[in-house]
Symmetry: C2
Subunit: 341 residues, 2 copies
């Protein structure tokens, strides 16, 4: 048995291969509100296991979202129900799990099931209760690690696996534009496209699948964009009333916060989104050397260096004041720097 | 000497290699208002020629634009001046040239220079006055053909060449999202990133280099977006007055027309942009099976199936009426189709 420290730094390829070879019925799961990488990694691993005669069962803490339903067109993924007995599985694979509480209602049943638990992830690992790990923060997506595992097990990548892995990588690299993209991301993408993946359709389904009214709404939000700190700070505000006036759900504002990063001056973009009256979701996006995760941490939030989130209760005015004050402080060291681009 | 028909369908690898080997001083050029692929291909070929001791001279019909200046930071590219004697070069390389009139003022001097002319392009070829051709419409960018030529000549790809080729491919594939992307695009990108290309910085310079005010302006334009034909048609209108009120140049509206394609319903997006009073630039973008080039051709415009342009004189009202009437007709066969995505 590995110590916790060893677990954090070792990858258990061989132990995991033996678990797969010796078992039959495997539980596969991922975090609440599975994003394309979470779901794509899960579905790709399931298909790989089926290809070698195993019996994967996919159970997630929350239903598959409308935006990624196309990946699970045959409804492989079930939603967790309270009666589930995790001890009936030979092992549990937990994919793309940055924090264990993100397993939601599945957290305790998995923790207590007494079966081998395998964590496959590309997020910075902060410990958890898995017995075996495939953690690689250099991987552009969890799907890259699933790809490595399938290769390690000599399981051929068929078109279905390729489609799921490609969607994962496409989404998590922002179509090969984010800093996690590297030569290997492209090398794997080339191999996946050679399997016949309909890449253009996947791109449309992931990025070009918005309702028409959303674009007009985005226009209204962006026309009210505010700037400060030599235009290094940009922020937008969407009150609950404004959502209702425009007949939009808060989910439809997803992605708006990314847009100010297209301005060359902007290092930090913030979206204040009032999900319910008095309940404000704050999304942060950064560029270059600015780390928005540190800012999010001040208010109990977190995430990645360039993409973080906070949730706060209060009026929009109060929350904006608190967060913008700290944002301005954090941007001070960047104010006199020459633009690098 | 090849006949015109043979020229259209043959690639003259060996003849071109001999011209390079036997010559020394080469003129390299491309079309007016060089885009990243035009400029990147030109700069990459120049660097490749320098690597084997040749003397490339880069002269374009128009100055390098601000958005691509970063690729030509040492100002290699000169602007054509009337006294230029093209007969002093051993051969002329013409890159990314879809229509020969797009050589602008350089067209006649090159046509009449009496030296071998080599056309390198990925656009559908409609004939011209080159003596030798490397034309491949399956290439995602002209840069891919330059890459092939350098390999054919056994000229190693150094970091500078890789940077120029990568910027070209990144721009012309829309960050590996357009339908011209394929396995080979990714394979080449992997090789170029392995040469040390700072891909994230190039992405920022190409796609995240807008002024802050432009985003607010885009917001205003998008909030006035109009839809018709079951939301399969979207259009936006930017009058010259509106540009002036917002303190924007017409160049700053570039790219707005792409955004409605992110709506799942939209098959055709049109932007009416009044460049000068009474002079209207119409940009068309299509998705799926809709071909906007046919529509553009009705009004003397043209381009690709999914991206075309028209230029018309008249009032905004007149021009909108004419183009939208034909657009509605062209969309008729698509109105009763179920959404494919």
């Amino acid at each position: 048995m590995l110590t916790t420290a060893e677990r954090l730094f070792s990858n258990d390829w061989d132990a995991i291969r033996r678990i797969i070879e010796d078992g039959n019925r495997f539980l596969l799961t991922t975090h609440v509100m599975a994003d394309p990488d979470a779901l794509g990694s899960e579905l790709a691993l399931a298909e790989g296991l089926r290809c070698i005669g195993k019996n994967p069962v996919l159970i997630n803490p929350t239903p598959v979202g409308a935006n990624v339903q196309f990946l699970d067109s045959s409804h492989e993924v079930q939603v967790f129900h309270a009666g589930l007995d995790c001890s009936t599985f030979d092992a549990v694979f937990i994919l793309d799990i940055s924090r264990w509480e993100r397993l939601g209602a599945l957290s305790d049943p998995i923790r207590l099931c007494g079966k081998p638990k395998i964590c496959i992830d590309h997020h910075p690992y902060t410990g958890g209760y898995a017995d075996h790990h495939l953690v690689n923060t250099n991987a552009c997506a969890s799907a890259e690690i699933v790809y490595d595992l399938l290769n390690y097990m000599a399981i051929p990548i068929n078109e279905r696996i390729a489609e799921c892995l490609y969607a994962s990588i496409l989404a998590d690299t922002g179509s090969f534009s984010f800093s996690n993209t590297n030569a290997r991301s492209h090398k794997i993408a080339a191999e996946l496209l050679n399997k016949g993946v309909p890449h253009r359709q996947i791109h449309e389904k992931l990025f070009q699948n918005h309702g028409a009214k959303r674009l007009q709404f985005m226009g209204k939000v962006l026309s009210g964009l505010q700037f400060d700190c030599d235009q290094k700070l940009a922020w937008m505000t969407i009150s609950h009333d404004f959502l209702q006036e425009n007949g939009m759900t808060f989910e439809e504002a997803e992605g708006f916060v990314d847009m100010p990063r297209n301005c060359r001056s902007v290092l930090l973009s913030i979206m204040f989104l009032e999900v319910e009256p008095g309940d404000i979701k704050i999304s942060l996006r950064a560029k270059g050397d600015f780390n928005c995760n540190q800012l999010a941490t001040i208010f109990g939030g977190g995430g990645h260096n360039h993409a973080s989130g906070i949730r706060m209760l209060g009026t929009m005015q109060e929350v904006e004041h608190l967060v913008l004050t700290e944002a301005r402080k954090a941007l001070q060291p960047f104010l006199n720097l020459t633009q690098s681009i």
